[in-house]
């Protein structure tokens, strides 16, 4: 079986600074992969590269057998790789409904209509269904700028999921979300994702969240992959514990160690 997403010797330099090097990763359909690493370890750079937002300095990226390099995020997205953002990327002055409707109509196809209205009963119905699935239907008529962080994050992910991707990349889905809401958020997201069958790669600082939701874990350090394997194994890795997590991890008391 060939991997859905594969990188070979991927590297990225910003001037003299090496943001990523020797990154070899394979992600298969249906996998749920956690990503850890301190700030500046190259996690977001990795996501930015595989989605086509940043051009790697060297190396290859294959998605569904096709090279990603030289292609725009929108083209990669059309092939089935979507992402969410560390800071939710929404349309802040519009309402939740308008955000979803825009996302829907854009996801429907490249040839946008000039003349038929965007607001149609069919689209609105679907939008409500999606919002309900993500448990944010109550905010439907509110403007984004007034929403709490958690709702924004969920909406951000919901909009990414609209085009039924094969791979979903989540960049710190719980950052900025209150501790007590993190698990609710992840549970909601993972339920929706499971239903669609997409593979998920999510960047996370909270080891509790990692432990609970990922089956495989990638640990980034200084632009490189330090460890890659089943979550439990990687978490027990000495190097990972000293260099990435910063202290010894007691697998039984993971709570409270998050230091975003």
């Amino acid at each position: 079986m060939t991997a859905l997403l594969e990188t070979r010797d991927l590297a990225k330099n910003f001037g003299a600074v090496t943001a990523a090097a020797d990154i070899n990763v394979q992600i298969n359909a249906g996998e749920i992969v956690g990503v850890i690493g301190s700030n500046g370890a190259g996690k977001t750079t990795f996501i930015n590269m595989v989605t086509g937002y940043l051009k790697p300095s060297s190396g290859q990226i294959l998605f569904d057998g096709k090279s990603v390099i030289g292609r725009k995020p929108r083209e990669v997205m059309r092939d089935g790789m979507c992402r969410s953002f560390q800071v939710a990327q929404l349309f802040p002055e519009l309402t939740v409904m308008e955000n979803v409707l825009i996302a829907q109509s854009l996801a429907e196809g490249k040839n946008l209509s000039f003349f038929s209205p965007m607001h149609t009963p069919a689209r609105e119905e679907k939008a409500r269904a999606i919002l309900k699935e993500y448990e944010i239907l109550e905010y439907v008529d509110e403007t984004i700028a007034t929403l709490p962080q958690g709702v924004r994050k969920l909406l951000d992910i919901a909009m990414a999921m609209l085009s039924n991707p094969k791979v979903l990349l989540l960049d710190e889905p719980t950052s900025g979300v209150a501790i007590e809401d993190k698990f609710d958020l992840m549970t909601t997201v993972m339920a929706a994702v499971k239903k669609s069958g997409a593979a998920v790669l999510f960047v996370e600082h909270d080891m509790d969240v990692i432990a609970r939701y990922s089956t495989r874990l990638l640990a980034f350090y200084d632009g490189r992959i330090l460890a890659d394997g089943p979550t439990g194994e990687v978490m027990r890795d000495k190097n990972v514990q000293t260099l990435v997590v910063g202290h010894h991890l007691d697998m039984d008391e993971l709570e409270g160690t998050n230091n975003a």
């Binding site: 977001t44 930015n48 937002y53 953002f85 560390q86 800071v87 990327q89 960049d171």
Partner: protein, 298 residues
């Protein structure tokens, strides 16, 4: 040879003039994110203040050398009064509005100032030629140049140096830099952004008025001179990269030299030079030559 020399001197003289006008504009933009259309009016007010004072001064038969100090003084007073009046009395209530709206706000101020200047000084021309002719001229390679223009180059170099030094080597300059790079962060770190804004605007207004006052001796000060320099200054600032003082310096040099080259070799192209240079620069460097790097977006 003669031609190359003429192009060089003419170009540098024109560049210094451009930089003097553009410096205040780019400083205000860098710190406050306001593209100040009224900057041309500051220039005009500086020119009128300088010229009218010089007229009175020489009519009184005073020692001619002090007239240069008078020009600086006129610009200082005019910049301070107009800058404070506009920033404290009006602009501060508008902060937080969209950048485009702020352009329009300053356009409204420009319209009002244009007529205010007319009401204050009338439409007749003002002359302040004495400081211009007083310094005599120098012959270089068979061509005479006005010494006043050389002085202008020196003053511009001095202004550039002072700006560079105070921005990079002083504490308040570093605070200013931090505001230029990230206003919110600087505010969060306890920088008094309101005070910085007032000071910057007054300095910017002074620089505009200073450019006007120094230009006044070589021209006829008439209604509308302010409007004519706005677009020139805008172009220089865009070429250099908005908010970058160093960029404005380089932008002014490029425009000045290109214009001199065109006047000497292809006079018909003079009208297009500034837009041609701007187009070329933007085509290859869409953010201008020395764009101030923004924070990572995602």
């Amino acid at each position: 040879m003669n031609l190359a020399l003429a192009v060089l001197v003419d170009g540098v003289v024109y560049s210094s003039w451009l930089f003097l006008i553009a410096a205040g504009l780019t400083l205000i933009y860098g710190v406050m994110k306001i593209l100040n259309m009224a900057h041309g009016s500051f220039y005009a007010i500086g020119a009128y203040s300088g010229a009218s004072l010089i007229g009175v001064y020489f009519a009184g038969g005073n020692p001619p050398w002090a007239s240069y100090l008078l020009l600086v003084g006129a610009a200082l007073v005019a910049g301070l009064i107009v800058g404070l009046l506009i920033e404290r009395g009006f602009l501060r209530f508008m902060y937080g509005r969209d950048e485009v709206v702020m352009i329009l706000v300053t356009y409204g101020i420009l319209l009002i100032l244009e007529d205010a200047i007319k009401l204050l000084w009338g439409v007749d021309p003002y002359f302040a030629y004495q400081p211009y002719t007083l310094l005599g001229r120098t012959k270089i390679g068979g061509l005479s140049f006005a010494n006043y223009d050389f002085m202008l180059i020196c003053v511009t170099a001095l202004v550039a140096l002072v700006l560079w030094w105070s921005l990079n080597r002083t504490r308040s300059g570093k605070i200013l830099q931090s505001v230029i790079h990230d206003r919110e962060m600087a505010g969060a770190l306890g920088v008094n952004v309101t005070k910085i804004f007032t000071i910057t605007f007054v300095i910017g207004a002074f620089l505009g008025a200073f450019a006007g006052a120094l230009t006044a001796p070589g021209i006829s000060v008439v209604p509308g001179i302010g409007i004519e320099v706005i677009i020139l200054a805008f172009a220089v600032v865009v070429i250099g990269g908005l908010g970058s003082v160093g960029g404005a310096f380089v932008g002014a040099l490029i425009v000045g030299l290109s214009r001199a080259l065109s006047v000497h070799l292809y006079p018909d192209g003079e009208l297009f030079v500034i837009y041609g240079v701007m187009g070329l620069v933007l085509a290859f460097r869409p953010q201008g030559l020395f764009a101030i790097a923004g924070a990572r977006k995602i």
